[in-house]
Each structure stands twice: as C-alpha cells, then as structure tokens.
Assembly symmetry: C2
Homo-oligomer: 226 residues x 2
DNA sequence: GTCTATAGTGCGATAGAC
DNA sequence: GTCTATCGCACTATAGAC
C-alpha cells in the first residue's frame, strides 16, 4: 500500500473527527444541531491548530482565534467552557485516533518483518494526514494539567510498547537480532516523530512520506536483521 | 572517554555561561559589577529554564520568575529589557555553546568510524550536561520572532551538516555503506534529540547517557557498516 | 445560535524611593 | 543595585440583546 491508497482507505477527515468530538462532549458544546456544530468545530479546530502551531497555544489568545475563525468570542464559548478545555479536546481526539488506526492496521499473525513494516508505514501515513494534530500534541503536552499529562505519557508508552512487542516477537522467531528491544523501539519512535515534528525540513528537501517510510524501514532492517 | 571525564574536561558550568552572557550584553544588562551580575544571572536563567520547561515560556509570567527567583520585578529588568530578550539570550547562548563544543571535539583527520563515534558521543554528553538549555531551545523556537527563528533553523541544519560530511567521507573511503546521507544524518539527529527531549523516559528506565551512547553508536554502525 | 459590550483579572513594563 | 507601587493594556469569561 502506498500513501494515496491509505489516505483513501483511512477516510480520516476533519469533518469526521469533529463529529466525534461533537458527540463526545454534549456537556460542553451548547449547540444542538449537528450540522451547525460540526461546521463550526471544523473551523475552530482548524484555526486553533494553525495558530497554535505557529506560535504556541498559550500565545494564541481567544481574540486571535475569534478574529481568524470569524466567530465571535461568545460563539466560541458555545463550543467549549474554557480555553483549557479546548486544549484537552484536541489532545483527547488525537490520542483516540492514534490508538484506533494503529491497532486496526496491525495484523498480529503476520510475519514480524511484515508487521514491523506495516506499523512503521501506518504510523507515518497517519501522522502525515494528521500532521497538525500530532505536532500540536507533541508541543503542548506540558501545558496540560497533571492528570492530562499522565494520559499523554501513557499514550506515548503504549505506542512504544507496540514496537517492543513486534521486536521481541521477531527475536523469538529468530528473524531479528535485537540486543535491547526497549531502546530499539525508542529510537524507532524518535524517527517516526521526526517526520511530523520537523515537517518543514522534509518539505524543504522535497522528501515524500513514501520515500521517508522506505528509508526508515530499510535503515531499521539493516540494523536489526540477522 | 566516558561521561565523567567529558564533564570534567568540558568545564561547562552555569557560571561560565552566565559570565559570557554578561559580557555579550552590555547594552541590556544595567549591572556593572561582574560578580553581582553573574550571581543573579545564574539564578535568573536557572529559574527561568526550570519554570519554562515545566509549563512553557509564555505561560511563565515574570511575576512567577520574580517570586521563584527571589528577585523583584524591578531587579529582573536590570538584566534584560523585555521578556522576549530573555528568551533570545537563552537561545543565543545555547547555539554558541553547541557550535563551540561540537567543532572543538571533532578531529577531521581521524578515521570516519572514529569521527562518527566521537560526534555522537560528544553531542549526547553535551546535551546531557545542558539538558535544560537544549530542551528549552527545542520547545521554544516557535515563540521567537522571524529573524531568530531563521538562526535557529540554520543552527539545526549546521549540526546536521556535520553528520552529512562524516557519512559522505566514510562512503568515499568505502568504510560506510550509506544510500542517502541526508536522510541518514537526519535520523541520527532525531535519536540524539530524543535523549534530551524525552529525558523523563530514560530517567524512568534508568538508562545512563553512556548506555544510550553505546546503544545508538552500535545501532547506527549496524545499519551503515559494509 | 450568534452577536456586542463589559466585568474582572493579571500581565509586562517603569518610575522613583532607598 | 534593589525594592515597592502603579500604570495601561490585553486577556479570559460572561451576561443579555437580537
């Protein structure tokens, strides 16, 4: 599968995500009509992610968000009860999506080499589509309160565990030669994160997600194959 | 060389760094006595880095900084002319230090394999000593103005170029088998950054900088050695 | 469901006493 | 060289008109 196929298949759209947020937050979102709410949520999240990723969530004032989105201050507060809650909504949604897509794509019965490839590729493709969300989550974790930070850390370790399991399975089946599966998973994750954190660098060098995926898979396999 | 030796040799102390800052900013720092200025700068930077790395530079108010450092608002403004300038001072100093240490340690006449090892180790050791500074630079780049952001990007690409050069030299001398030196340097850098960005993770797992350095060097060599 | 107007708070920055 | 007091401003959040 190449990126264009994944994109079509995953059917991850801003609209679908916002519909989920709408249904999950009936207490905070005062608007009742789904069509209206989803339309405005798309606008709000899109604008908030853009502004936050430019200069940070704290630096983005709700006046900025109001001006840029075209919605009034009052209207904004119909979609969240505080600026902090807006932050949490974005974070929660990103986490839910990662877990869903990553576990759905991985076939645990396949050969370790194939599973590893799929996991890396899926992660890169997902973060390519949702770059804004992942960059935001990465950069704004420290602005969350303690309980939300804990969730964020758990989510990170959970993703890493997926790779640890694949590596250990491969070692058991004598297909990989992995000295330290925890550290190996850790550096794999750092390479995957680089794709969405340093997006500007790869854009400037005109490296496509498929080229990067191929390179990373090849690099890792060279390092761990018997 | 192991970390403890490097630490002793590099002689990078908060005080030495603050002395440099003091001498480089005569226009902004109103205090004339070096001893007084350096003592307070150590306090200011130390506190600012701690608070910023906890919750972000923008979220840290100068009142926070004043309260935690024990200096009054008025006293703080004797050491910088605006909050933004404080941000720039920290960033500039971090960049200067990286360039200095990295180029000083690398012996271009050594064998590529040895040079690569030294570069990786030195980078990890330096970021271990200066973790707070590097984490800050990494996270707060987007809060800088455009001209400072440009410098930050240049600095990142400059460090990456060091690795590209080493890899290409190794390829030329038939010691490495590198398909794409730019992307290889890029993923090496992501592994090095992970050490100071995700410091909490390695601390929790009780991985020392020497263990991490050994693992990363070994991993990369496995991937690129003929 | 969306708007404008505004209350109330805390910010960055400075002036002037010591 | 450091402090306290304060200014003016921009912020988050809300109330009430439409």
């Amino acid at each position: 599968m190449i990126f264009e196929e994944f994109k079509h298949m995953a059917m991850i759209s801003m609209e679908e995500i916002c519909r989920e947020v709408f249904m999950d937050n009936p207490a905070s979102i005062k608007i009742k009509k789904e069509a209206v709410a989803v339309k405005n949520l798309v606008n709000i999240f899109d604008t908030a992610l853009r502004l936050s990723n430019e200069k940070g969530f704290q630096s983005m004032s709700l006046r900025d968000l109001s001006r840029t989105s075209g919605l009034s201050m009052g209207a904004l507060y119909s979609y969240f009860t505080s600026k902090e809650e807006l932050l949490e909504m974005i974070q929660n949604q990103g986490r839910r999506l990662t877990r869903k897509v990553l576990t759905r794509q991985i076939d645990v019965n396949a050969e370790p080499e194939e599973v590893l490839r799929t996991a890396i590729q899926t992660h890169l493709y997902l973060t390519e589509i949702m770059q804004k969300w992942f960059y935001f989550s990465y950069m704004e974790t420290k602005n969350l309160d303690k309980s939300q930070q804990k969730k964020s850390i758990e989510s990170e370790l959970e993703t890493e565990q997926v790779f640890i399991d694949i590596l250990e399975d491969g070692s058991r089946k004598k297909q990989f030669h992995v000295k330290n599966s925890v550290l190996t998973a850790s550096v794999i994750k750092s390479m995957l994160q680089d794709w969405y954190v340093k997006r500007w660098k790869y854009a400037r060098r005109e490296v496509s997600v498929d080229e990067y995926a191929e390179f990373v898979i090849d690099f890792i396999e060279s390092a761990i194959k018997k």
